[in-house]
C-alpha cells in the first residue's frame, strides 16, 4: 500500500485564514472536518486552508453526500464542494450569489438587484436543482441566510449521487450542511460587524425631453402623421424655459438615490464538550433600498429589507451509544416597499418620458395628465407602503443508536422534522391625486384638472401563504471491513408531507438503499436504488424504481503506481435512471370541472356547466438516463489538482405542449403531455494550484463548464421547410426572422406580410422565396453553440495580509431585446425613448444607422422577433474581491481577545461585456444590479 501524503506542517498563522477561503475550489476538498481546528471558522489555520483548497488533498477527508459522508477515496458520485467560508466574502442577502463562478456545472443568472430578491437562479446541468438542507428537502426558501451557518455546500450532479431522492432526483440537488460545532473543543465565539454601500451598476439612459420630442416628431412624420411638438415646444424643452408646461425630468435621478447602506451583525458560538457539540448563530441584517424618501411621511417608503435569524444545532450523547440531535432554525424577513410597488415604480421609471408631466405644479400639487395619471413621485412617496413579513422556521429532531453491541458497524437512526412558513402582507397603501395645469391662452388664468382620487391609508393584513411540511425518516447502516475490503450498506425510508394553504398535502414516499463495496481500496463498486412515489399521480401510477450504479478505480492505490509528478489518479463512472415528479395538484382526478353557465329558460337564469378539462394530461414523471465519466488527479506534490467530468443525460417524458396533435380527437392543439425528449451533455473541468513560500502564499483555481443541449423529440409537425424544425436545435433556441438591412424606398421589402414599408424599416430575408415574409421565414437565430461559463478564484497572502479575487464569465450567450426598454414610444406612443435611438435610421444616416427608422407605438414589422434584436451578451465580471488584515492575539485594554480581523470586500466590481447597452444580466426595467462595497471586523472572544 502506498504511503499517505504527509499532512502539511502545521503552523498557526491566522494570516492564512483568507487563503483558506480562496482555496476552496469547486470540486475541491473540505478538509477541516478532520483537521485539528482549534481556531474558530473565520480564523482557521493556514494548513487547513491549503489542504481544503486542493482537490483530493487527503483521501481520508470526509465529504458530505446525501445521507452521510464519504472519504475522497470512496467517492464515486459526481459532486462538487464549496466550503461555507467561501461564501462569507460576498456581501449579498442571498448566499447563492456566492455560488457564481465557484462550482463547475452550476450556471447562475441574476435577474434583479432588489434587496431580498437579489439571489440568482440556478441551473445544474440544465435543470433547476432540488435544495436540501441537512439531508431534508425543505420547502422554505433556503438562500436568505447568513453564510456563517453554512459548513459546506455539495452539489449532487449524477444519477448515483441523487439515487436516494427517488422520484425527485432528476434535477440534481444542492446539499447544504450547517455547522454543528464538532471538533472545536471548548467554547468558541466570534462577533462580526460589517457595513457597506450598494449602488446600481448601471441605470438606463433615457433621452432628454428635447431629444425625446424631436424624435417623437420624426417618428410621427415617418408614420405619415403630423408632428405634435412645435419649434417653440422644442426650444422650451431645450432651454428648460418653462418647466411646468415643458418639463425635462430625469426620473431615475429624481426618484432614486445614488447609493444605499447595508449592514449586518452576526454572532456565532460553537464548541465540543464531553458529550455534546453545538453551534449557535444569531444574525441581523438591514439593507435599504434605492428609493428616495421624504420627511412628509412618518414611515419609511423605501424598499427596505431586514432579517433576523436564529440557529441552534445541538448534539448530545445520551448514552455512549445513543445520541440525540436537535436543530432549530428561525427566521423573520421583514420587507418594506413603497405603496406603488417597487417593481411598478421601476417599470414606470422605464416607460415615462422626461416631458410627461412636471413632478409638482406651481401650486405644489402633483403633476399628471390624461395619459400619465400616476405621478411616479406619488407612487413612491405618497402611496403609503406595503410590508411583507415572512416568518419561517423548523425543528429537526434526530436519534441515532450505534448497534455495535450487537453487530459491529451497525447503526440505526430516526429523524423527524417540522417546517413552517407563514407569509403575511400588511397593506398600508393609499391613493393620491394628480393635477394637470391648464392655462387660459386669453387671460393667462390657471386652472387645474384632477386625476385620481385621494384616499385614506389602508390598514389591512392578509396571510399570503401558509405552508407546513412534515418529514420523517428512518435509516439504518452497516459498515464492515473484510480484510482489505470494505462493505458499506445504507437503507432508508422517508415520507414527506407538504401542505400549502388549504390544499391537501402533497406527499412523497421513498424507500432506498445503497451498497458500496471496496476491494483493496482500489476498486469501488456501488449500487443505489430507490422505490419512490408522489401523490399527484393516479392511484397505482405514482411509484417508480430509480436504480443507479457506479464504479471507480483508485489507480494510486495500485502496487504498480509510482508517485512521481502525478500523485493520485482516480477514474470513475456512473449510470442511472432518475425521475422528476411534475404532476399538478391532483390533476389526474380533476378531469372534469365547472365551466361557464348557460341561460336557458323563459326567464334568464344561469344554469351551471361542466366540461371535460383538457389542458394537461400528465400521467407520469419526467425521466432522465444519466451517464457520467469522471477523473480526479493530483500532481506536483499535491500542489495541483484537476477534476474532469463528462456527462450525457438523455431525458424523456418531459412535460410539454404537443408540437402537433390531431384536433380531430377533440383534444385541441396544445395539450400539455409527457412527451419531450432532450439530450443534455457537457464537460466540467476544475483545476487548482496552491503553494506557500515562506510568508507568501498563493492559490489559483478555476473551473470551466461547456453545457450543450439538443431537442431530440417534441412531436412537432413536419414543417414544409427544414429551417423551421425545432428538433435537433438546442433547447430554448430562439427562432425569428433574419434581418437584411433597411428598406430603401416606400413600399419596398421584403417586409412582414401586409405591412406597407417606408424607408428605414427592417427588411427580412425571404427564406422560401415566396415573396412574402411570414412564419415560413423564421429560422434559428443567434447562437447555437453550447453555453460556456467559467470562474477563476485568485488568492494571495503575505504575512497577515490577504487578498482574494473572484472573476466569473459566460460565453455563447445571447439576449433578446424587446419591449419598452428597447423600442421607442411603446404603449401607443406614451412610452420612453433611449440614447440608442439617436443612432436611428434617417435618410442622411442610412448607411451607418444602428436602429431602424422610428415609429410611434408598436411597429408590426420592426418590433417582431428577429436576429436584429438578438445581441451577443457574453461577459466577464470581477464578481467578488476581499482584502483583509488579521491581528493575532491582541489585548484591547484589559480585554484580551483571541484575534481581530479587519476586512473590505465588494461585489460586482467590474464588468466587461460585448453587450454595451446595459448590464448583461439584469436588464433595464428590473431593479438594477448592485455594486456593493462593504467593510467590517471580526472579533474572536
Amino acid at each position: 500500500m502506498k504511503e499517505k501524503i504527509d499532512p502539511l506542517k502545521r503552523k498557526r498563522s491566522a494570516g492564512f485564514s483568507i487563503l483558506a477561503a480562496l482555496l476552496l475550489i469547486g470540486s475541491g476538498g473540505r478538509a477541516q472536518q478532520l483537521a485539528n481546528q482549534a481556531a474558530p471558522e473565520n480564523m482557521s489555520t493556514a494548513d487547513d486552508s491549503l489542504r481544503s483548497g486542493l482537490l483530493l488533498q487527503n483521501y481520508s477527508d470526509l465529504y458530505p453526500v446525501l445521507n452521510g459522508v464519504r472519504t475522497g477515496d470512496n467517492l464515486i458520485e459526481s459532486t462538487g464542494f464549496l466550503d461555507g467560508r467561501k461564501l462569507r466574502s460576498t456581501p449579498a442577502t442571498f448566499i447563492n450569489t456566492g455560488f457564481t463562478g465557484r462550482l463547475a456545472g452550476l450556471y447562475t443568472h441574476q435577474s434583479s438587484g432588489q434587496p431580498g430578491s437579489d439571489g440568482v437562479s440556478l441551473s445544474l446541468r440544465g435543470l433547476s436543482p432540488l435544495i436540501i438542507v441537512d439531508n431534508i428537502p425543505r420547502t422554505l426558501p433556503p438562500w436568505s441566510i447568513n453564510p456563517e451557518q453554512i459548513e459546506s455546500v455539495t452539489i449532487l450532479k449524477d444519477a448515483l449521487s441523487t439515487a436516494l431522492l427517488g422520484i425527485r432526483g432528476m434535477r440534481g440537488a444542492i446539499l447544504i450542511t450547517t455547522r454543528k460545532g464538532e471538533r472545536h473543543p471548548g467554547f468558541n465565539m466570534d462577533i462580526t460587524a460589517q457595513a457597506g454601500l450598494s449602488q446600481p451598476v448601471e441605470l438606463p439612459n433615457p433621452l432628454s425631453a428635447y431629444d425625446y420630442a424631436r424624435l417623437y416628431n420624426e417618428a410621427l412624420l415617418n408614420d405619415g402623421q403630423s408632428p405634435i411638438y412645435s419649434q417653440a415646444d422644442l426650444n422650451a424643452y431645450r432651454n428648460n424655459s418653462s418647466p411646468y408646461t415643458h418639463p425635462n425630468i430625469d426620473w431615475y435621478q429624481r426618484i432614486l438615490d445614488d447609493q444605499t447602506p447595508f449592514n449586518r451583525y452576526t454572532l456565532n458560538a460553537e464548541g465540543t464538550g464531553k458529550s455534546v457539540h453545538y453551534f449557535v448563530s444569531l444574525d441581523y441584517m438591514n439593507q435599504e433600498g434605492l428609493f428616495r424618501e421624504s420627511t412628509e411621511n412618518a414611515y419609511s417608503t423605501n424598499s427596505e429589507y431586514q432579517r433576523y435569524i436564529f440557529r441552534s444545532n445541538v448534539n448530545v450523547d445520551l448514552t455512549p451509544r445513543l445520541s440525540m440531535s436537535a436543530n432549530l432554525f428561525g427566521r423573520i424577513r421583514d420587507a418594506n416597499e413603497p405603496g406603488g410597488g417597487a417593481a411598478n415604480i421601476f417599470n414606470a421609471l422605464m416607460v415615462t418620458p422626461g416631458n410627461a408631466y412636471p413632478i409638482f405644479n406651481p401650486d405644489s400639487s402633483l403633476g399628471g395628465n390624461i395619459n400619465y395619471k400616476n405621478n411616479i413621485y406619488g407612487q413612491s412617496i405618497r402611496s403609503g407602503y406595503t410590508n411583507n413579513v415572512y416568518s419561517d422556521g423548523y425543528v429537526d429532531l434526530g436519534l441515532r443508536r450505534e448497534m455495535d453491541d450487537l453487530l459491529p458497524g451497525w447503526w440505526v437512526r430516526g429523524t423527524v422534522s417540522y417546517i413552517l412558513t407563514l407569509n403575511q402582507s400588511i397593506n398600508r397603501t393609499k391613493n393620491f391625486e394628480t393635477f394637470q395645469m391648464l392655462t387660459d391662452p386669453a387671460t393667462g388664468d390657471r386652472s387645474y384638472r384632477r386625476f385620481g382620487t385621494k384616499s385614506e391609508q389602508n390598514n389591512s393584513s392578509t396571510v399570503s401563504a401558509r405552508r407546513h411540511q412534515v418529514y420523517a425518516e428512518a435509516a439504518t447502516g452497516y459498515t464492515r471491513h473484510l480484510g482489505m475490503d470494505k462493505l458499506d450498506v445504507l437503507l432508508l425510508y422517508n415520507i414527506d408531507y407538504n401542505t400549502l394553504n388549504d390544499n391537501l398535502a402533497e406527499k412523497y414516499e421513498t424507500l432506498g438503499a445503497t451498497v458500496q463495496y471496496s476491494i483493496k481500496e482500489r476498486y469501488l463498486l456501488q449500487a443505489a436504488t430507490s422505490y419512490s412515489g408522489n401523490s399527484s399521480y393516479a392511484p397505482g401510477q405514482g411509484y417508480g424504481v430509480f436504480p443507479s450504479a457506479g464504479l471507480a478505480w483508485n489507480m494510486h492505490n495500485e502496487p504498480f503506481f509510482e508517485s512521481g509528478f502525478i500523485n493520485a489518479l482516480k477514474l470513475r463512472a456512473s449510470y442511472g435512471l432518475t425521475g422528476n415528479a411534475v404532476a399538478g395538484y391532483f390533476e389526474y382526478i380533476e378531469r372534469y370541472a365547472g365551466s361557464a353557465g348557460y341561460y336557458l329558460g323563459t326567464s334568464a337564469a344561469s344554469q351551471p356547466g361542466i366540461i371535460e378539462y383538457q389542458g394537461r394530461n400528465i400521467t407520469t414523471w419526467e425521466k432522465a438516463q444519466k451517464l457520467n465519466f469522471g477523473m480526479d488527479l493530483r500532481f506536483a506534490g499535491s500542489k495541483g489538482a484537476l477534476t474532469i467530468d463528462y456527462y450525457r443525460n438523455k431525458m424523456s417524458d418531459l412535460v410539454q405542449p404537443r408540437g402537433s396533435s390531431a384536433a380531430l380527437s377533440g383534444y385541441g392543439f396544445n395539450v400539455i403531455q409527457n412527451l419531450g425528449e432532450n439530450l443534455y451533455s457537457g464537460l466540467e473541468i476544475t483545476a487548482g494550484w496552491a503553494e506557500r513560500k515562506g510568508d507568501f502564499a498563493y492559490a489559483v483555481s478555476g473551473n470551466l463548464t461547456v453545457s450543450d443541449s439538443e431537442v431530440l423529440f417534441n412531436d412537432e409537425p413536419s414543417y414544409p421547410y427544414e429551417w423551421m424544425q425545432r428538433t435537433g436545435q438546442p433547447v430554448g433556441q430562439y427562432f425569428g426572422y433574419v434581418s437584411d438591412g433597411y428598406v430603401t424606398q416606400a413600399g419596398g421589402g421584403p417586409v412582414v406580410e401586409g405591412y406597407q414599408a417606408v424607408p428605414g424599416d427592417l427588411r427580412y430575408k425571404d427564406l422560401n422565396d415566396d415573396g412574402v415574409i411570414n412564419q415560413f421565414d423564421q429560422q434559428p437565430i443567434g447562437n447555437q453553440r453550447p453555453l460556456l461559463f467559467y470562474g477563476v478564484d485568485l488568492g494571495f497572502s503575505w504575512r497577515n495580509f490577504n487578498l482574494s479575487l473572484m472573476i466569473q464569465g459566460v460565453s455563447n450567450r445571447d439576449i433578446l431585446l424587446s419591449g419598452s426598454s428597447e423600442w421607442e414610444f411603446q404603449n401607443n406612443g406614451k412610452g420612453q425613448a433611449w440614447q440608442h435611438h439617436l443612432e436611428r435610421w434617417t435618410p442622411e444616416t442610412a448607411s451607418k444607422a444602428l436602429y431602424p427608422r422610428l415609429s410611434v407605438g408598436t411597429n408590426v414589422n420592426n418590433h417582431v422577433r428577429s436576429d436584429f434584436w438578438l445581441r451577443p451578451a457574453s461577459y466577464l465580471r470581477l464578481k467578488n474581491a476581499e482584502i483583509s488584515y488579521t491581528f493575532d492575539d491582541i489585548a484591547l485594554g484589559k480585554l484580551k481577545v483571541g484575534g481581530l480581523r479587519i476586512f473590505l470586500n465588494g461585489l460586482n466590481l467590474l464588468t466587461v461585456s460585448d453587450f454595451s447597452q446595459s448590464d448583461p444580466e439584469v436588464l433595464p426595467g428590473a431593479y438594477p444590479l448592485q455594486r456593493v462595497f462593504n467593510g467590517g471586523l471580526t472579533i474572536k472572544l
Binding site: M403, L406, L407, V412, A472, A474, T476, Y493, I495, L504, K507, E509, L511, N534, S535, Y537, Y543, F586, I589, E590, R591, Y592, A593, S595, A596, G597, Y598, Y599, L600, G601, T602, A604, Q607, P608, G609, I610, E612, Q614, S660, S661, A662, A663, L664, S665, G666, Y667, G668, F669, Q673, P717, S718, Y719, V752, E753, G754, Y755, V772, N774, Q775, V860
Partner: protein, 585 residues
C-alpha cells in the same frame, strides 16, 4: 446471539411501524383522502351533473365570431370581408386585411385552427355524453331519450359549421379518442357529410318537443332540427356545392361538393323549408301599428319569441350595443356598413333606388327608405339614445363631426364609410350605460330566414309566385307600403333571373349582420363578382345646415377560389397525413 436477534427484530419493527404509518388507512399512502372534484364517473352518475354537462355544450354553441366576441374586437370578423361592412382595424395583422391582401398569415391561420379544434372538441363532448348516458345513468328514460336527441342535434350542428368552412370533413361517428390512441382519419365526401347530418336530424326530430316551457325554454326543438336540415339542403343545392366546386382533381372535387350538378337537390331544399312552415308553430313578428317595421326591430329584443327557432341563449346583455355603437354612444364601433348595403335597401314603396319612380333623392338619400334600413344602419343624422343627455339625439357622421365623424380607412378611430351598425340593437341601450336587454343573441335560426330559404328554392325550381309570396310576407312585416297592386314594390311577373336577384337582395338586407352574407356569397359562388370589387362609403360635407353627399372608395375585396374553403390547419395535416388540403392552400 439471542440478544442480537431480539434487538434486530426490535429495530426492524421500529422501521416497519414508521414505514407503515402512512399505510395504516385502507388506501395506500399516496392516495388522496378527500375528494370533492369531478371526473367522468362522478358526473354521469349524478343527474344534476349530467345536465350541467349538457348545459356546457349549449354554452359552446358557436357563431363564427361574427357579432363581435372579444376575439373579433381586435381582429375583425368574416362579415368584414364581404360587401356588408368595412373593418375597423387597419394593418396587416387584422384577419380581414390579410384576406384583402391575399396574404393569409399567422392570425388567419390561428383563427382557422381555433375554429377547427373548437368544433371537434364539441363533437367529442357530444360523443362522451352519448356513451355515458346509458342504462346506468340516473336520468329518467324520457329525459335520456330527449337529451340524447338534443346532443345529436348539437353534434350535427357542429359538423355543419365545419362543412360551411371546409367542405367535406372527417366524420368521427361515435368514436371517443384517447390521447394515445391513433386518431388518423381521412375526409368524408361532401355527399356523405350531408347524408349523415340529414339522417341524424331526421332521426332525432321526432324525439324532440315542438315547444319548451319554463326552465327548458331555449333547448333544441323539433323545429330547430328541421331548420338546420333546411339550411343543409339549401347549401347542398347551391351552385358551389351542386357540382360547382372549383377543384378539378376528382378526389378533392368530391370532398368539396357533389361531383355533378343535380336540379332535384333544389326540390329537397324546397321541401325541407316547406316542412318548417308546415310545422305551423312559427310566425313573423309583426307590428306596424306602433311604427312601420317595429316587429322587425323588436324581434331581436325578445327572450321568448315565435319567430326565433334557435338562438344562443344569454342573460340580459348589451353585447351588440357595446361592440358596434359609435363612440358617442359608448360603443366600440367595430364595423361600418358599406354604401353597397345601404343602396341595397329599397324605398318605403318597395322599389329599388335605381327604379324609375322610386323617389330616391341622391341629395337626401336616407329619406323614405325601407323601414328595415332604419333598424340596421346608423347614418348621418340618425337618432339614437344618448346616455349623457338621457334622450334620443342625432348621430353625426359627416366629415369633421366631433366623435363620430368620417375617418380615413387607415384610422381606427371612427367610421370609414359614414355609417355605423345598429342591427339587433335596443335603442334604449348604449355601450356606456348599465341598461341591458333580456334577449336571445345571437339568433341562429329564425322563421324569416326559413322563408328566404323557401323563396330561393322556389326560384330555382321555377315556382316564381311561391318565391314572391315569401318576399311579400317579409316586406309586409317590414312595414313597406303595399302599393296599389298590393305587391310591396315587387314586379308582377319577374323572370327567373330577376326573381333570383330579388330574393338574393332581400336576403342581403333582411339578414344583414346575421352571420349569413359570407356563407351566402360562398354558396352562390359569387367570388368572380366580388373579387377585386371596390367598396364604398359616403363622404358627407356640412355647409351651414346643408349636407352634400359624395361617394368615396374604401377597400378592395378579395374573393379568389381559395376563399371558398378554409385551409385545413397545417398542424392537423402534419398528423393526419391522409387529409387532402383544400384548393389553393
Amino acid at each position: 446471539m439471542k440478544n442480537f436477534f431480539y434487538t434486530t427484530i426490535k429495530g426492524l419493527a421500529i422501521l416497519v411501524i414508521i414505514g407503515c404509518w402512512g399505510c395504516q388507512d385502507e388506501d395506500s399512502f399516496l392516495d388522496k383522502k378527500v375528494s370533492a372534484s369531478l371526473n367522468e364517473q362522478i358526473v354521469f352518475a349524478d343527474s344534476a351533473y349530467t345536465m350541467d354537462y349538457l348545459t356546457a355544450i349549449y354554452e359552446g354553441l358557436y357563431f363564427w365570431y361574427n357579432t363581435g366576441s372579444s376575439a373579433t374586437a381586435t381582429n375583425g370578423s368574416w362579415s368584414e370581408i364581404t360587401d356588408e361592412c368595412e373593418t375597423k382595424w387597419p394593418g396587416g395583422h387584422n384577419v380581414p386585411n390579410q384576406v384583402f391582401d391575399g396574404t393569409f398569415g399567422e392570425p388567419f391561420y390561428n383563427r382557422i385552427a381555433k375554429l377547427w379544434s373548437h368544433f371537434y372538441t364539441r363533437i367529442r363532448q357530444c360523443n362522451i355524453y352519448l356513451e355515458n348516458v346509458n342504462e346506468e345513468s340516473p336520468l329518467s328514460n324520457a329525459l335520456k331519450a330527449r337529451t340524447k336527441a338534443e346532443i345529436r342535434f348539437l353534434r350535427a350542428y357542429h359538423y355543419f359549421l365545419l362543412m360551411e368552412g371546409w367542405g367535406g370533413v372527417p366524420l368521427v361517428g361515435d368514436t371517443i379518442y384517447s390521447l394515445s390512441s391513433p386518431n388518423l382519419q381521412v375526409r368524408n365526401s361532401w355527399a356523405e357529410c350531408v347524408d349523415y347530418i340529414v339522417s341524424e336530424l331526421d332521426a332525432v326530430a321526432p324525439m324532440l318537443p315542438v315547444r319548451y316551457t319554463g326552465r327548458d325554454y331555449g333547448r333544441i326543438t323539433r323545429g330547430a332540427c328541421m331548420a338546420l336540415k333546411s339550411r343543409v339542403l339549401l347549401f347542398a343545392a347551391s351552385p358551389l356545392y351542386n357540382g360547382g366546386s372549383p377543384a378539378e382533381e376528382p378526389a378533392l372535387k368530391e370532398l368539396t361538393g357533389y361531383p355533378s350538378h343535380d336540379e332535384t337537390r333544389w326540390l329537397k331544399a324546397l321541401q325541407a323549408a316547406q316542412d318548417v312552415v308546415n310545422l305551423g308553430v312559427y310566425e313573423l313578428k309583426t307590428d306596424n301599428a306602433t311604427r312601420p317595421g317595429n316587429g322587425f326591430y323588436e324581434l331581436f329584443l325578445e327572450r321568448v319569441s315565435d319567430e326565433i327557432i334557435l338562438a344562443r341563449m344569454q342573460g340580459p346583455n348589451k353585447q351588440v350595443e357595446r361592440n358596434h355603437l359609435p363612440r358617442s354612444r359608448g360603443g366600440n364601433f367595430l364595423r361600418y356598413p358599406t354604401q353597397e348595403l345601404v343602396d341595397a335597401f329599397p324605398m318605403m314603396n318597395g322599389l329599388s333606388i335605381e327604379s324609375p319612380g322610386s323617389g330616391y333623392d341622391p341629395e337626401d338619400p336616407y329619406k323614405n327608405r325601407d323601414p328595415r334600413f332604419y333598424y340596421t344602419v346608423i347614418y348621418n343624422g340618425a337618432s339614437y339614445f344618448k346616455r349623457t343627455s338621457n334622450q334620443m339625439e342625432p348621430v353625426w357622421t359627416y366629415k369633421g363631426a366631433s366623435q363620430d365623424g368620417l375617418k380615413p380607412v387607415t384610422a381606427n378611430t371612427g367610421t370609414s364609410t359614414g355609417y355605423y351598425s345598429r342591427k339587433m340593437m335596443d335603442e334604449r341601450v348604449t355601450g356606456d350605460g348599465s341598461a341591458t336587454t333580456d334577449r336571445n343573441h345571437p339568433v341562429l335560426f329564425r322563421y324569416g330566414g326559413i322563408l328566404l330559404n323557401l323563396a330561393e328554392a322556389a326560384v330555382e325550381t321555377g315556382d316564381i309566385p311561391l318565391a314572391m309570396e315569401q318576399l311579400i310576407a317579409l316586406r309586409r312585416r317590414a312595414g313597406i307600403d303595399p302599393g296599389a297592386d298590393n305587391r310591396y314594390g315587387l314586379p308582377a311577373d319577374p323572370s327567373q333571373e330577376e326573381a333570383r336577384q330579388l330574393v338574393r337582395n332581400e336576403r342581403f338586407i333582411e339578414l344583414a349582420f346575421e352571420m349569413q352574407r359570407f356563407w351566402d356569397l360562398k354558396r352562390w359562388k359569387a367570388g368572380d363578382w366580388l373579387d377585386g370589387a371596390m367598396m364604398h362609403g359616403m363622404q358627407i360635407t356640412k355647409k351651414g345646415d346643408e349636407f352634400s353627399y359624395q361617394r368615396i372608395e374604401t377597400r378592395h375585396r378579395y374573393f379568389k377560389d381559395n376563399l371558398y374553403y378554409f385551409p385545413i390547419p397545417p398542424d392537423e395535416l402534419a398528423v393526419n397525413l391522409g387529409l387532402i388540403q383544400n384548393l389553393g392552400w
